[in-house]
Amino acid sequence: MSIFRTEKLGLSRSKKWLFQNLNLEIPAGTLVAILGPSGVGKSSLLSCLSGSEKPTEGRIEYCLEANDIRSPKTVRPNLGIIFQHLRLTEHVTVLENVLYGKIAKFGLKQAIFGFPKDECSRAYSILADLGIEHLAYKWTAQTSGGEQQRTAIARTLFQNPQFILADEPVSNLDTYYAGRVMGLLRNLASEENKVIFCALHDPQLISRFADYALSLNPEHPEGWNLRKITP
């Protein structure tokens, strides 16, 4: 069981509210698309949810079990983030970047002796799922933008968290891989009961893969809207 909840969540920047009074209760197995034009506050909302930015008001709760309620900071190993600017370590291999997804599980021993073999093979199979297994031992800095985006997605898939926050995860991908990545996220939500938030622009992707669409409106910070998407 995993439920995500916000209570009266609000964020203001330079005395201007981006959103206010945001009350959400998202059950397990749901993919929520956050939409709206650039600058509307999609990334800010996601950084609030990830704990990297403190909301001006309100609460965020991640429920792992019925009695196990966590804040963005304490939920961390169970929270996967696909950043808009990817944040990959450039001077290590693609495979290593994927392995960093389970960094919380590993100790300092792995820094010296390397990662366990079974974990490496699992990371490799995820790369294969995303069609970049041939890049496993290539330096991340030498791969293209789209390949790096798939590496960042692979890192989160490898982490296998209960909650995923994805900030425009398919912005650098062609239609085929955009669909494939969104399909993977969709399956994760439905089959493994995860809660996924995904900032997206493409209305087609939203209607194909999302359960709910959350739109923000900075003109009316309290006028946010969460609607169910009917296929």
């Binding site: 990830s50 704990g51 990297s52 961390r76 190993p77 929270l79 996967g80 983030i81 950043f83 600017h85 944040r87 990959l88 370590t89 450039e90 001077h91 290590v92 960093y100 997804g101 960094i103 919380a104 590993f106 300092l108 820094a111 330096w139 800095a141 030498q142 982490q159 968290p161």
Partner: protein, 276 residues
């Protein structure tokens, strides 16, 4: 309609507008050089270069390699001093550099660490050696301590500049998915700075081998101590030449080696530079 001539003519600027700050500095520097040079020549200490060179050739040549074994031993000690001091300095500098980097540490810490680094850099290695010879007596340990402190000042500054040039968001991102601060450093920051750290450490090692041959002059061990002894002996000038030739040979060899190794490491660890 605007005439062609009006468009074509560039507005002229007055002479003081054309004179920029760097030009003014250059002029001041030129005046200082002329003034200082004239002052030095005017002092009543005529230099007799010809007889000086004659004296040098007569006294210092041919080089006396009779104690080559001893020279090799002292050179070995010089190497050891340089290697040990560079190693200790690299380890400590890495820790200190984190404290001196604005993007990772709080301002109060950055400022106090930088002040410490500035102070260690102010004293030349020979003065550090002199100080430690007073503490420890004329031993190689004094040399190791002197070069360690001297290198700390430089490496701490270099490493912190490297860390500051890195995108700290990568490490912060890792922390957001559960990495501890040390893991965030090791996996998010270190891989990106390590090429620079290797290259700077090797440069410091080269530099320290050169310094280690000098600090013996004040008793801090190594080849410099042999040089000092030979200079104090009435018949030691030819030995001095032999030692200087050995030092020169080692330093040139090291320059070549160091350059090659540094290029190799930078390309190995930082593949971007291959395509650059």
């Amino acid at each position: 309609m605007i005439s062609q001539e009006k468009i074509g003519s560039l507005p002229t600027r007055s002479w003081y507008e054309r004179l920029n700050f760097l030009n003014i500095l250059l002029i001041i520097f030129l005046f200082l050089a002329i003034f200082s040079g004239k002052n030095l020549v005017d002092q009543n200490r005529p230099a007799d270069v010809v007889s000086g060179v004659k004296y040098f050739i007569k006294k210092f040549f041919p080089p006396d390699f009779s104690n080559f074994q001893l020279i090799l031993q002292s050179l070995n000690e010089t190497f050891q001093i340089a290697i040990v001091s560079t190693f200790i300095a690299v380890i400590f500098s890495l820790v200190i550099a984190v404290g001196a980097s604005r993007n990772v540490s709080p301002t109060w810490l950055v400022q106090s660490v930088r002040m410490f680094l500035n102070i260690t850099r102010t004293l030349p290695s020979l003065i550090w050696a002199f100080l430690f010879v007073i503490f420890f007596g004329p031993t190689p340990i004094a040399g190791v301590c002197a070069l360690t402190f001297y290198s700390l000042g430089y490496l701490g500054k270099f490493f912190s500049e490297s860390i500051e040039s890195m995108d700290i968001k990568v490490a912060r991102g890792l922390k957001l998915i559960g990495a501890s601060p040390s893991q965030a450093f090791i996996y998010g920051l270190w891989p990106n700075v390590k090429a620079q750290v290797w290259s700077q450490s090797l440069w410091m090692l080269e530099y320290n081998i050169r310094s280690a041959s000098i600090i013996g002059l004040v008793g801090a061990g190594g080849i410099g101590m042999e040089l000092n002894k030979a200079m104090e002996m009435a018949s030691g000038f030819q030995r001095v030449t032999a030692i200087l030739i050995c030092i020169l040979f080692i330093v040139i060899l090291l320059d070549f080696l160091g350059q090659g190794i540094r290029r190799w490491i930078t390309q190995k660890v930082n593949p971007k530079s291959i395509s650059d």
